[in-house]
Subunit: 163 residues, 2 copies
C-alpha cells in the first residue's frame, strides 16, 4: 500500500488537487447557469438523462461521498440524492456541496487517503481513487451538458474558464 | 513556486498519475473502437466536430505536448496534428501516442513538473498543470463521443472500464 508518508516521486499536493477540483466546480456551475430553466429539466440527446439529473449525481457522488469518507457512515446512493425542483434549487445545492467539500476535504488525513472505503456500499477503492473518480465523473457529465447546450444552439462556457 | 522537493501533503505520485492517465486512454480507445467507420468521420451533434477531430486534438495535445516538454522544441498546434483517413489510422495513431506518453512521461524530472512551459506557444502554465489539462481535456471530449454514440443508438463502454 502506498501511504502518504511513503509516496515516491510525489507530483500533486492535497491543496493542488482541491484547487483543481474547485476550479472544475466553478466551471460546472457556469454550465448550469447558462441552461434555460425548462431544458435543464427536460432536454436530452439520445435518450440520456437531462442535465439536472447528471448534476444531482455529481452532487451526491462528491459532497455525499466525502461525507461518508469523513464520518464513516455509509448510506446507499439513492438515499443521498438531493430534491431539486427548480434551477435555483440546483444552484443552491451546488454551492452547499462546494462548501461541504471545502470543509470535509482538508479533514482527510494523509494516511486515510490511501485506505480503502466501500463508498455507498458499492465502490471499494482507496479514498484517493474514489476522489479522482468524483472529479473525472464531473468532467465527464459536464461535457455531456456541453453537447446538450450546443444541440440547443447555446454557446457553453470556455473549458478553461474555471474562475 | 511549489517544487517537487517541497510538496507539502503530497497526495498523488508520478506513477499513479501516469497509471490513471493510461486507464483513461484505454477507455477512449474503446470508445473509438465502437464508433462505426462512417460516423467517426461525419456524425456530430449541434454543429460540433466529428469524434475523429476530437481524438486528433487529444493525440496532438497529449503526445505532442509531452514531446515539447521533453525536447523544449515548441511548434504550433496545427503543425503537430496527425493525418487520419480511416479508423485504423486513428487507432494506430492512438497507440503510438500512448507509447510516446509511456516513454516521455517518466523522463520528466521532479523539478521540471513545476516549471512553466509555453506549450504550443500558447499555453503558459507549469508542466504539471498542462498535463492535468491534457487528461481533463481527454475526459471532456471522450464524454462528447459518448453522447454521439447514444444519439446513434449505440451503447458506449462503461465509464469505469479502463483496463
Amino acid at each position: 500500500m502506498n501511504t502518504a508518508t511513503t509516496i515516491e516521486r510525489p507530483i500533486i499536493s492535497t491543496e493542488e488537487l482541491l484547487n483543481a477540483w474547485k476550479g472544475h466546480r466553478n466551471l460546472t456551475r457556469k454550465v448550469i447557469e447558462v441552461f434555460p430553466e425548462k431544458d435543464l429539466f427536460s432536454f436530452s440527446v439520445g435518450g440520456m438523462r437531462p442535465f439536472v439529473d447528471l448534476c444531482k449525481e455529481m452532487i451526491t457522488v462528491s459532497a455525499g461521498g466525502l461525507k461518508q469518507i469523513i464520518t464513516g457512515v455509509i448510506e446507499p446512493f439513492e438515499d443521498a440524492m438531493p430534491q431539486i425542483k427548480e434551477k435555483a434549487d440546483l444552484l443552491q445545492a451546488w454551492d452547499e456541496a462546494t462548501e461541504q467539500i471545502s470543509i470535509y476535504f482538508p479533514q482527510i488525513s494523509a494516511e486515510k487517503f490511501h485506505e480503502d472505503i466501500n463508498l455507498f456500499g458499492e465502490y471499494k477503492f482507496p479514498v484517493i481513487e474514489n476522489i479522482q473518480y468524483f472529479i473525472d465523473n464531473e468532467i465527464h457529465h459536464r461535457a455531456q451538458g456541453y453537447v446538450y447546450l450546443r444541440a440547443l444552439g447555446i454557446e457553453p462556457p470556455f473549458f478553461w474558464d474555471r474562475y
